[in-house]
């Protein structure tokens, strides 16, 4: 009722069952070995300690990614979760044998590059510090290249606009450069720096003529002032005469001084006399008042006394 199958061997194969068993065992062993290798690669058999990194953004962090120290992977991200304060908690398993590289003073950074995955790195500056305890929580420092790009582009644009403004035909720098060019052109002219400073060779020539005139003037002045029978000789003679006059004036002043001393003595005598005059005047005043009272008394007692009463109409 049943035909032999086309794909089965026509003649019986020797030890077909044994071969099938060998194949089954080999493939089974291969699968088991592969699974064990994958588990080993995933770090299932390693003793680990937990490290928690706190970040305000966990973008790019995926479970299974490495944390490196000096380029060597020493830890693996186990889980990423959102904390109650809204920050990301990155749970990292560090094998015990690699945990020696992490110290209490270690710093952890998370870098995002434009191409490639996010990297978590550990830096231990002082390897003599105490070991990082199990379950430690650290804040991770973030360096985000892509976040810097907009700022960089804005700065670059401003810079390019400034550069554009500077390099336009009517720009200030261009005008300055043109002026500089004309100035250097003048500097290389006949009168050199002088021509450059004064604006043209004509002005420089005028200045030089003026300087020559001044030079001649100074020469003449020197002859007239310091030369023989010059102003300085006359001035010296005048100064000698002035010295004599001053001596005479000094003697006159001494005489005036003596006169003044005399006058001072006279003034003192006059002041004494003035004081005596004051006493005399007081006595005269008293006598006059007495005479006045006497006259008034006589007038009252005199029969021809006038009626002094005023009568109103």
């Amino acid at each position: 009722m049943q035909e032999p199958k086309a794909e089965l061997p026509a003649e019986p194969v020797a030890h077909v069952e044994a071969k099938a068993v060998v194949l089954l065992v080999l493939i089974g062993a291969l699968i088991c070995a592969f699974l064990l290798y994958v588990m080993y690669a995933r770090g299932v058999f390693e003793k680990t300690q937990r490290l928690v990194l706190i970040s305000d953004d966990s973008e790019g962090v995926i479970p299974g990614m490495d944390m490196t120290f000096s380029g060597f992977p020493i830890g693996r991200v186990q889980r990423v979760e959102l904390a109650s304060d809204g920050k990301a908690r990155i749970l990292i398993d560090v094998p015990r044998k690699d945990a020696a590289w992490l110290r209490t003073s270690s710093v952890f950074t998370m870098e995002r590059s434009m191409v490639g995955e996010t990297r978590i790195r550990a830096f231990s500056g002082i390897l003599t510090d105490p070991l990082l305890p199990d379950g430690s929580t650290r804040t991770v420092l973030r360096g985000d290249t892509t976040a810097e790009i907009p700022r960089l582009v804005a700065s670059a644009r401003a810079l390019l606009e400034n550069l554009d403004t500077m390099t336009r035909t009517d720009s200030t720098i261009n005008a300055t450069l043109t002026n500089l060019q004309s100035a250097t052109g003048r500097l290389s002219g006949r009168y050199g720096l002088l021509g450059g400073a004064l604006g043209s060779d004509e002005e420089a020539r005028k200045l030089l003529v003026t300087l020559e005139r001044i030079d001649r003037l100074l020469l003449k002045t020197d002859q007239r002032v310091f030369g023989k029978h010059g102003v300085m000789d006359d001035t010296q003679a005048a100064v000698l005469q002035l010295n004599v006059v001053l001596k005479d004036a000094s003697a006159s002043l001494k005489k005036v001084d003596a006169v003044l001393a005399e006058a001072q003595a006279i003034g003192a005598n006059a002041r004494v006399a003035t004081e005596d005059l004051g006493a005399l005047r007081a006595e005269v005043d008293a006598s006059l008042r007495k005479v006045t009272r006497l006259v008034d008394e006589i007038n009252r007692k005199w029969p021809f006394a006038r009626d002094t009463e005023l009568k109103l109409p």
Partner: protein, 269 residues
């Protein structure tokens, strides 16, 4: 002849075509489930069935493995070289190894193993043999004892052998590709083992590993069950093949692509 596709059917027949397609898919699933249950029941493995299974395993795996491994290693070596050299020229050599493992080991090797086994064994199902089995499943779903015995004797060993063949080819070649990838990236040196192991560990996350195993097993089942189910169904309904094409081939390719797409979607979306 009854139309089998909506495009060739009148609108009044669309309902019947849909029902027939659904029934066909259900028959395939049911047969697969029955074969799976029988494969896991100890009573299947009597002396005669063990010999039959051994012969099927010998045919579908033992005889195929060396040639497939050789061919696969050759193609893999070329692909690995291309990936490594290209990534090196772009300065992305760090990612070459991961890419090789992800593309070759996780995706291409299982798919090519499934296709190879399907062409070599699954689609080489003998129509004469199917005639004998067609009666066995005719009174489905309530399978009689006789029908069950026939399924046990004929179908289950083949299903097991084909599934095992896909698993074996995929595993052996995956390991070979992993070795080749190491040699291409690090050369014959033991100092890259630590980095390499970490990279492999990073790729084979638990979800990815389970997806890889599940996908390989589903490939094996599809390759084993779909062509058989197609022929049995054809014989059961007394149809003639519409073309010289092997029955179930299109459905098998469709299911393989579906499994691959689902696997990719699960991993990367």
């Amino acid at each position: 002849m009854r139309p089998t596709c909506l495009l060739y059917a009148k609108p009044s027949e669309w309902g019947a075509v849909v029902v027939r397609a659904l029934a066909s898919w259900w028959y395939m699933l049911h047969l697969g489930a029955v074969a799976l249950v029988m494969a896991f029941s100890p009573s299947t493995y009597n002396r005669a069935n063990r010999v039959a299974a051994s012969r099927h395993i010998y045919t579908s795996t033992w005889r195929v493995l060396p040639w497939f491994t050789l061919l696969s290693a050759l193609v893999s070596q070329v692909l690995i070289r291309i990936v490594v050299v290209t990534s090196l020229s772009y300065g992305l050599s760090n990612y070459a190894l991961e890419m090789v493992v992800r593309v070759l080991v996780l995706e291409l090797i299982p798919l090519s193993a499934a296709l190879f086994v399907a062409l070599r064994a699954g689609l080489a199902f003998n129509a004469g043999d199917a005639l004998a089995l067609a009666g066995a499943t005719a009174d489905s779903p309530a399978l009689s004892m006789q029908a069950q015995n026939r399924l046990r004797a004929e179908l289950v060993p083949e299903v097991i052998a084909n599934a095992f063949a896909v698993l074996s080819l995929a595993m052996v070649n995956s390991v070979i590709v992993l070795v080749f990838a190491y040699l291409n990236v690090y050369g014959v040196s033991p100092w890259g083992v630590y980095d390499y192991t970490r990279t492999v560990g990073r790729v084979f996350e638990p979800v990815v590993t389970m997806g890889f195993a599940l996908k390989t097993m589903l490939f094996g089942l599809a390759v084993a069950v779909i062509p058989t189910a197609a022929i049995l169904e054809m014989q059961r309904l007394g149809r003639r093949p519409l073309s010289t094409m092997q029955p179930g081939a299109v459905r098998l390719l469709f299911v393989l692509l579906l499994i691959e797409a689902a696997s990719l979607a699960m991993k990367y979306i």
